[in-house]
């Protein structure tokens, strides 16, 4: 009696419970590492879509047991493969204990210092914004265009010379030459040389003549062989092929705008960074190709690289509209609206110079927003500023002006945040399902 059972369709993730318990156990350490990784990571390469490799100290997740010490005492080891030892030979003790101890540690997969494993994207985000529920992120409608291009499609035995795949062809040729025992150039030359040497001798005796004859015969054989087994044969040839393909062209660009005047401190920047990063993570998932543009501004705006964006100091006043103008310029210059999905994200502490806020409203409503998929403005306020957090009516000049814009444009949203915990819910709110439909 026997039977076979196909277990493959069984529900996956049988060990999910164990994994959760493991993450829970190591949470503090993992969180520390994740937090550190966020700080070290740049916004553009923060995508842990393949999971995030973390190494945590093995300390909290050790499983102790009564183990014999690897050192000391008297032991006998029986080993295979004696070469030339005889009884009484002395062998210096291998460094780092008597072998066995070292092995055990590595078998466990954990040295003294760390245990490495991979967090999934969801786990990573969950830990990054701990205490928040991670919902299914909903893809927004994306503008997609189709262009045609070509894609590689393996190798064929026929093709045009310009598509010849040299490496594969030569590999085949080499294999065939070895298999069919084609005499190599060197062995051929050796015979030729020897023959020449013998022929140079004057008045050859009989024995020598016999050798010359034998060599000539051998040479002829080699020559025939080399002719017969070509260096490159048509069957060696391999060509690259390409097939035409329609390519979905979905590109997105994220503009990160930030006020870097003196009032934006480490805390504000860290919050802004988390927001930008999430936005980038999200868009990366939705689009095949995303680019990020960093614009920082004080009383004038400039496009900078990421490092400068987050870490360089700048002093000066605050004129928000300069950044918006810069964004407009860059769009016109590099990102044609019909090819790119444009996203804007702006972080500021809400201060602005004089009547500049009015100007911001104008630029946004008239120029930027009509060409943007989406634009989010995040105002970072003090944690103690409960009044501002609780009441959207309250706020300075800039906030008030932007509120007016928000009312008119569905793709424009403004929010206030005060602590890391706020970011994710706000992000979720901004990207809630069904919000941008009908646009």
């Amino acid at each position: 009696m026997h039977h076979f059972i196909d277990r493959r369709p069984n529900p996956k993730g049988k060990s999910l419970g164990n994994r959760q318990r493991f993450l829970r156990r190591a949470k503090e350490n993992i969180k520390k590492m994740v937090d550190r990784s966020v700080r070290q990571k740049s916004v553009t390469d923060a995508d842990p879509s393949g999971g995030e490799e973390v190494t945590i100290p093995a300390k909290g997740i050790k499983e102790p047991f009564f183990a014999s010490s690897p050192k000391g005492g008297f032991r006998r080891h029986v080993l295979p493969g004696n070469k030339d030892f005889v009884v009484g030979d002395a062998i210096p003790r291998p460094k780092g204990g008597a072998g066995e101890g070292g092995r055990k540690a590595s078998e466990d997969g954990e040295g003294e210092d760390g245990f490495s494993f991979t967090l999934t994207r969801d786990e990573y985000l969950e830990i990054l914004f701990e205490g928040l529920e991670l919902p299914d992120l909903v893809k927004k409608n994306t503008f997609e265009m189709e262009t045609s291009g070509t894609r590689r499609a393996g190798l064929t035995t026929a093709g045009t010379p310009n598509n010849l795949n040299l490496v594969r062809t030569m590999r085949n040729s080499l294999g065939r030459r070895i298999a069919l025992r084609r005499p190599s150039q060197a062995s051929f030359q050796a015979v030729v040389d020897e023959l020449a040497k013998l022929e140079d001798i004057d008045a050859p005796d009989e024995e020598l003549q016999a050798r010359i004859a034998a060599l000539q015969e051998k040479l002829a054989l080699l020559e025939r062989r080399r002719k017969l087994v070509g260096y490159i044969d048509p069957i060696d040839l391999r060509f690259d092929t390409h097939v035409p393909e329609k390519i979905r062209n979905s590109k997105a660009v994220v503009f990160c705008l930030m006020d870097v005047s003196g009032s934006m401190q480490e805390r504000e920047k860290d919050l802004a960074k988390r927001f930008f990063m999430l936005l980038h993570l999200f868009l990366e998932r939705a689009y095949e190709h995303t680019e990020v543009v960093f614009i920082r501004h004080t009383h004038h705006a400039q496009e900078v690289d990421e490092e400068t964006f987050f870490y360089a100091r700048e002093t000066g006043g605050t004129i928000v509209s300069t950044a918006l103008k810069k964004m407009q310029e860059i769009i016109e210059e590099r990102y044609p609206v019909d090819e790119w999905n444009i996203y804007g994200a702006q972080a500021s502490d809400g201060e602005n110079f004089g009547n500049d806020s009015e100007k911001c409203r104008q630029i946004l409503s008239e120029v930027l927003l009509p060409s943007c998929q989406y634009y989010a403005y995040v105002e970072i306020v003090e944690e103690s500023d409960e009044k501002l957090l609780a009441d959207a009516e309250e706020g300075a000049d800039l906030w008030q002006n932007l509120r007016q814009v928000e009312a008119k444009f569905p793709q424009f949203e403004i929010r206030r945040v005060a602590e890391p915990g706020h970011i994710y819910p706000i992000f979720r709110e901004l990207f809630a399902a069904g919000k941008s439909e009908g646009r």
Partner: protein, 508 residues
């Protein structure tokens, strides 16, 4: 000429079934194997990783350490540093084996011959498994354990359960009976246990029964001088090597459900203990069985030369024994040693030399070599098997030599090599290295005076001067303290001279 069983790499369930029947024919009628009914399950790579993390069990309670193991194995597997096993087989009735879906048909055939017949026969016939494990009940028990622990988590919280499981896992190797059979519960006890499990009732009644019936009779009072001590030792059946058992029965602080968890952990440890003691034999038996079977399949014309070569390729990989100075060397390969020993026994039966007749008079030249093998598989464990069957021929073939590693000496000394003077000592030392009772530290509960200082006194009998790793020891002692509720001390003394070597306590 009979038809081929299969021709081509793809497997289907019909082909598997056909191959199984052909193997069964050879295994039962030609080799005389005796097996549990087979249940063969096809699983994916992820499921194999799952099974890995849960010590190969089909069902397991949940614990973070399994998640850790999974994360580690997955990382190793994904980065290509470690392949997965072709199969996992479980000592149960019916005998469940898991085969990977990625195997080719030839590999599935090999794996079936190996696991579903080789291991299966070993599980059913080896005395350790027969006496110490209950193959027909393990699934029910695992299901019970999983549900019980899930129930406890719900009732008492994950942290509370985790604390007990952590402590119990730390004592796993001290959770087995090595010498005496575990006392079997009586009918009354079984009933009480049943009730208690169903309703999570107080375990007091069960405990009373256990201590009174099973344990008291076994102690020997005469040798003890101190009467209070002797009373205690009698009452608690001391000294006791099974620390988990002791804590389960006598810890003054544990709740009924906590005792049940200790019981689950030690029950599973006991279930696994025979496997730990028979790695060489078990793999040797399975490998030799598949080797015989695939050769017969080829002889009978049931498989192609190509399929046979594929199987032999895998076979040779499995029985590869790198030499000690090879970078791949990682100890003696149980497959290699086991397989070589089985082959050698057959050689001794079929073509004994003078030396073999001198060393193995009982079976050298015995025409029924399969019967000799079956007898060996049934009645030995690694240690006794090697001590009994490792031949000088094989010692020469493996070029075994022995290093004496005395911490007092600056160098390692080659003490024996594969010559006439060395055979017996090498064989004895190799056998000892498979003796778990020697390899695992000998730790016992000596005394615990609940009316006095309540300190749980553990002793470690130090053999050959090999002490415990202090870091691990102190961590485990903390766990023991948690389970005992009061301080725990451990005294290490040399097992020959009785000289005290160290004393630590959680009180300090």
């Amino acid at each position: 000429m009979p038809d081929l069983l299969f021709d081509g790499p793809e497997w289907t369930f019909e082909l598997l079934s056909k191959a199984h029947d052909a193997i069964e024919e050879i295994a039962l009628n030609e080799l005389g194997l005796d097996i549990y009914p087979n249940q063969i399950e096809i699983i994916s790579a992820e499921q194999m990783l799952d099974a890995y993390s849960c010590v190969g069990m089909p069902l397991m309670y949940q614990h973070w350490s399994f998640g850790k193991r999974f994360a580690r194995d997955e990382a190793l597997y994904r980065t290509g540093r470690q392949g997965l096993a072709y199969e996992i087989v479980i000592n149960s009735n019916p005998c469940i084996s898991y085969n990977m879906e990625e195997n080719t048909m030839a590999m599935q055939t090999l794996v079936m011959a190996h696991a579903a017949f080789g291991h299966n026969h070993f599980f059913k016939n080896n005395y350790l498994f027969q006496n110490w494990t209950d193959a027909s009940a393990i699934h029910d028990y695992l299901a019970f354990a999983k549900n019980f622990i899930a129930g406890c988590e719900e009732r008492y919280g994950i942290d509370a359960v985790e604390e007990i499981l952590d402590a119990a896992h730390a004592l796993q190797t001290q959770g087995v009976f090595r010498y005496g059979r575990p006392p079997r519960p009586t009918a009354e006890e079984l009933q009480a246990i049943q009730q208690q499990r169903q309703g999570f009732e107080d375990q007091k009644s069960v405990l009373d029964l256990w201590t009174e019936n099973a344990m008291r009779a076994e102690t020997n009072l005469n040798e003890l001088k101190d009467s209070a001590l002797s009373d205690r030792q009698a009452a608690m059946n001391l000294p006791q090597e099974n620390i988990l058992y002791f804590l389960e029965k006598h810890s003054p602080v544990l709740e009924a459900w906590q005792r049940e968890i200790l019981r689950i952990v030690r029950y599973l440890a006991q279930y696994m203990y025979p496997q730990k003691q028979t790695k060489v034999m078990n793999e040797g038996c399975a490998t030799y069985t598949h080797y015989l079977i695939i050769n017969r399949l080829l002889e009978k014309g049931l498989i192609t030369d190509g399929a046979f070569m594929e199987m032999m390729h895998s076979h040779t990989n499995v029985v590869l024994q790198p030499e000690f100075d090879d970078p791949r060397y990682g100890g003696l390969n149980p497959y290699a040693l086991g397989f070589a020993m089985m082959q050698d026994i057959r050689r001794i039966c079929e073509a004994p030399t003078e030396e073999d007749r001198e060393w193995f008079p009982s079976f050298a030249g015995n025409p029924d070599w399969m019967a000799v093998l079956r007898d060996a598989w049934a009645n030995y464990r690694d240690e006794s098997f090697i001590l009994q069957f490792l031949s000088p021929h094989l010692i020469r073939k493996f070029k075994l030599f022995m290093l004496a590693d005395d911490a007092k000496q600056a160098n390692l000394i080659v003490s024996h090599i594969h010559n006439r003077q060395g055979y017996r000592d090498i064989r004895a030392a190799l056998a000892q290295s498979y003796d778990l009772a020697y390899q695992e530290p000998d730790i016992q509960v000596q005394d615990a005076d609940l009316r006095g200082d309540r300190v749980l006194k553990l002793t470690h009998a130090v053999r050959d001067g090999i002490v415990l790793d202090p870091k691990n020891r102190d961590e485990v002692l903390k766990h023991v303290r948690r389970l005992w509720g009061y301080d725990v001390s451990m005294t290490a003394s040399d097992h020959k001279t009785g000289t005290r070597m160290s004393h630590v306590s959680t009180a300090a």
